[in-house]
């Protein structure tokens, strides 16, 4: 039977005693909660023709947070006990001894759920999973003689959370998450190149594996590696860039996403902090951050403060409309939480974070974009990115790209880093495609040492000017 975790079942403290400690600790604070979490996860890894790793993790703990004005006091522990909770309470009180607040009991409610209460790990036996990994290995190695290495892995997780607020209000969520990744390395004439692809989301393994669906994941990893085997050195300098749909939306995540998170804007350390209501992107560019898409990797029924998630419009037709907020930053900026308060786990404080960040479709075609470029690159697949939110400069690393010469796609080029400036690069978008696509569901976003699962989406776009970090002058 899959039911909500009872965090106090094996503990020396009852739920009502815990509620009393929470209410007592937070009585003179503006906000705060006791966050309880139990995560079960598994990793299965096939590498070098063998099952290299089969491991299971069970992680239990709490994080107790009290906030007064701008000050956050946090304490976490793995031991859910009277002693440990009291010690945390004392610790919070001592930090906040000289400040006073009024607890805000208001928290929006919703009955909507964006994934099922399942434990994906238990839905498939270890033997079945090992069998599929071996099939993946055999399938790929029989497909191409140049394959020198195959790595494939399953990651499955079920995270149960409970948020107890002052006064005893309790909010709960059970979050499934899985990921299936394949990476291959090819070697031909002494040259080595690799290709990586994966899929995932908040649902059962079967959704991705039924009818030998896994074959398409293998094919894609192999295709990327094969393209790279033929690649030439990438060019260096400023040029036009066409981005394919889907995963290349890492651009949106880095160029504007992070800079629109509430904390950096409250502190005025984001390059966007004084641009609300202003034009930050070309006409036709609309960007939303949506936590409500069924079964997506970045979706959440409630965020880690208990606020139901929503679809937040960040940029509408080029104009900056909203930041992403958690409760703390929303209160200090006199607005409401957008359900963007997230944390990696109970060891970390809540920060405003992205969920599924998406640029919506326009009405041009990818063909039109390619034809419009004399000299530039067409980037299809990316490894990751990073941003300096203060200077606004961001990078992202292509793993599959081609040169464009006189309106035609030419030879593949080696992986290179692209660099741009967040507040200005989206003003350089001159065409928005009609082919919006979600990413395959494998993204993890890092901020302040915390990784959280996120999604991205975009149509094909043409950017007039970006610096490509190749080696060919």
């Amino acid at each position: 039977m899959l039911s909500m975790n009872n965090f106090f079942e094996k503990s020396d403290i009852s739920r009502s005693e815990a509620e009393n400690i929470v209410s007592d600790t937070l009585s003179k604070c503006d906000d705060g909660e006791l966050y309880l979490e139990n995560t079960k996860s598994e990793t299965l890894l096939l590498d070098d023709n063998k099952i290299k790793n089969s491991s299971y993790n069970s992680d239990l703990g709490f994080g107790f947070r009290a906030i007064s004005d701008e000050i956050v006091a946090y304490s976490h522990s793995n031991e859910i006990s009277k002693n440990s909770l009291r010690q945390s309470s004392e610790n919070l009180k001592s930090t906040l001894k000289s400040v006073k607040g009024t607890y805000n009991h208001e928290i929006p409610k919703s009955n909507k759920k964006y994934y099922d209460n399942i434990n994906p790990i238990e839905q498939k036996s270890l033997n079945e999973k090992i069998k599929i990994l071996n099939e993946v290995n055999n399938y790929l190695r029989s497909k191409d003689n140049n394959i020198k290495q195959v790595t494939a892995n399953f990651l499955g997780e079920q995270k149960s959370v409970e948020i107890i607020r002052s006064g005893g209000e309790s909010l709960t969520d059970v979050r499934p998450l899985i990921r299936f990744n394949v990476s291959v390395m090819l070697e031909k004439n002494g040259r080595k190149e690799s290709g990586v692809y994966g899929v995932g989301g908040r649902q059962s393994y079967d959704f991705y594996l039924k009818d030998e669906n896994w074959k398409s994941v293998c094919d894609e990893a192999l295709r990327i590696a094969s393209v790279n085997l033929e690649s030439k050195p990438a060019p260096a300098g400023e040029m036009k860039v066409v981005l394919g749909p889907g995963w290349p939306a890492i651009l949106i995540h880095e160029a504007v996403g992070h800079g629109l998170e509430g904390d950096f804007n409250r502190k005025k350390t984001s390059a966007f902090h004084n641009l609300m209501g202003q034009k930050v992107a070309s006409e036709g560019v609309t960007i939303v951050d949506d936590g409500t898409i069924d079964n997506r990797r970045g979706s959440l029924t409630i965020d880690d403060e208990g606020t139901p998630t929503e679809k937040t419009v960040l940029i509408e037709n080029g104009i900056l409309k909203n930041f992403m907020q958690d409760r703390l930053n929303a209160r200090l900026m006199k607005t409401r939480s957008t359900g963007s308060g997230r944390r990696e786990n109970y060891r970390h404080i809540v920060l405003p974070r992205m969920r599924n960040t998406m640029m919506l479709s326009g009405n041009q075609t990818q063909d039109e974009m390619i034809k419009a470029v004399d000299k530039g690159i067409f980037a299809v697949s990316f490894g990751g990115g990073q941003v300096d939110i203060t200077s606004g400069k961001f990078v992202f690393n292509c793993t599959e790209a081609y040169e464009i010469v006189n309106g035609k796609i030419g030879s593949p080029i080696k992986g290179a880093t692209l660099i741009g400036d967040g507040p200005s690069s989206l003003k350089e978008v001159s065409m928005v495609g009609n082919d919006m696509m979600m990413d395959p569901g494998i993204g993890t976003c890092g901020k302040a040492g915390q990784g959280v699962p996120v999604g991205v989406a975009q149509p094909s776009i043409l950017i007039n000017k970006m610096t490509v970090g190749g080696t060919k002058l």
């Binding site: 070098d48 992680d59 946090y74 020198k148 260096a236 990078v395 690393n397 660099i419 190749g470």
Partner: protein
């Protein structure tokens, strides 16, 4: 208070005993506890306090050549019983791998030397606040500074590693870390930079005022950067970036990358991969060293290795599993290097700056642009244009690119090595790289 050795040992031996009873032929276990206390300041005021008490256990069980593992933060016996049973079950169902085994008994560490890695000093939150007040005061002198965020963390950890070959050892470590991130603004730009200090002993930590001043200086000098054109130019890497290049080298010589064939340094032992004068050491027994240790995560004794001698690669970083696969003995590098560093070069920092009429001094890189399969390197960068030994103006929104195989052959090191991190490099110049800008 961090848990004592006796508590951790009791848990470890309970797990080994239970695994054996349930049918494991061998097993190993790590139990650790870490207690951290952090205070954060922002704009000279208290911003956050954070206390964390982390327990963890991870167990690997073997049945012959089959292997599986579990980990948990819940150390109650009830939970351990369920998990170990699950682990042994999973082991039975996992295919055999001929290279799976505990380390060879004669390679295990026989003694635990006292490397002075634990300072008993407890810094109360009020003392942390005093340090941060002093730091932020020193950092906020200039009107261009619009935001300061500083942090002080005290960490105390303890662990036990035990296995069914009779190994059972562990020790306490401590660290005291202070850092400051500054944002400065002028009419044209807003920039961020930082300074950081981390030591095993509190009394060795950088002076708060000096740290604050340095963070502010490094930020202000980045204001009003320019973008330069694309060209081939000598690159000088600040120490904090140069150490990253050394870390990439370390991942490329890890026995797992070598045995899988996914490293550009495969089969390069006894070949010259760096310029002539380059020596790389991994020295685990530095007193108070941030990467110091007596043995690796499998219990294998960790001796000093001269990884690169006069430019020639001498060793891989070997663990038990990949060692058996490569037919080499573990050299105690499961989990990577200890105190890894380039030995000093023979010119001063000043002479290095002066050695070219024009060069680029890099203080920060962004992006994950290192590919250890091909050796390709391409990252976003920020820094300064240097002309005739002088810093001319700040530069940003550029990328630098090359291939490590060439880059390693064109390294010149200054003689300014210091042990600030676990991995350290003197200031480094590499010739022949490409900058992409305008």
């Amino acid at each position: 208070m961090v848990k004592d050795q006796e508590f951790l040992e009791k848990k470890a031996s309970y797990c080994l005993g239970l695994a054996k009873k349930l049918g494991a032929t061998e097993s190993s276990v790590i139990v650790n506890n870490s207690v951290s206390e952090t205070v954060n300041f922002r704009n000279k005021k208290l911003d956050e306090s954070n206390r964390s008490d982390d327990l963890g256990i991870s167990i690997t069980t073997y049945i012959g050549k089959k292997k599986s593992s579990i980990s948990s933060s819940n150390l109650l016996d009830d939970n351990l019983n369920i998990l170990i049973e699950k682990c042994v079950e999973a082991t039975k169902n996992t295919p055999e791998d001929e290279f799976n085994s505990l380390p060879d008994k004669d390679l295990l560490a026989k003694e635990v030397k006292d490397l002075s890695l634990y300072d008993d000093t407890h810094i109360e939150n009020d003392q942390k606040i005093d340090y941060l007040k002093k730091l932020e005061l020193a950092a906020s002198n200039d009107k261009k500074i619009v935001n300061t965020e500083s942090s002080f963390t005290q960490n105390k950890s303890n662990f036990i590693l035990a296995n069914t070959e009779g190994f059972c050892a562990g020790y306490k470590t401590s660290s005291f870390t202070a850092s400051s991130v500054i944002v400065a603004k002028d009419e044209k730009s807003m920039e961020r930079d930082y300074e950081y200090s981390s030591k095993c002993f509190f009394k060795d930590l950088d002076d708060a005022g000096e740290l604050g001043k340095q963070a502010a200086y490094q930020t202000i000098r980045k204001l009003s950067p320019k973008k330069i054109g694309s060209e081939k130019i000598a690159i000088i890497f600040d120490k904090r970036i140069a150490k990253g290049i050394l870390s990439t080298f370390a991942s490329a010589i890890s026995s797992s990358a070598i045995s899988r064939g996914t490293s550009f340094l495969k089969d390069k032992v006894n070949q010259k991969i760096f310029s002539d004068s380059i020596n790389v050491l991994d020295k685990p027994d530095i007193i108070k060293g941030l990467g110091s240790r007596n043995f690796d995560k499998e219990g294998v004794k960790t001796d000093t290795l001269k990884l690169v001698e006069q430019g020639v690669l001498k060793h891989y970083l070997i663990d038990t599993y990949n060692g058996k696969k490569l037919n080499l003995k573990s050299n105690g590098r499961f989990g990577g290097t200890s105190n890894l560093y380039f030995e000093n070069g023979n010119i001063s920092f000043k002479d290095l700056l002066n050695s070219k009429s024009k060069s680029l001094y890099i203080t920060e890189t962004i992006g994950h642009g290192s590919n250890i399969v091909t050796g390709d390197y391409s990252v976003g960068a920020t820094g300064f244009l240097v002309e005739n030994g002088e810093f001319k103006y700040p530069i940003n929104e550029i990328t630098i690119a090359g291939n490590f195989k060439d880059m390693f052959q064109h390294i010149t090191l200054a003689n300014d090595l210091e042990f600030k991190y676990a991995t350290n490099s003197p200031t480094m110049m590499i010739e022949g790289m490409v900058v992409a800008g305008k």
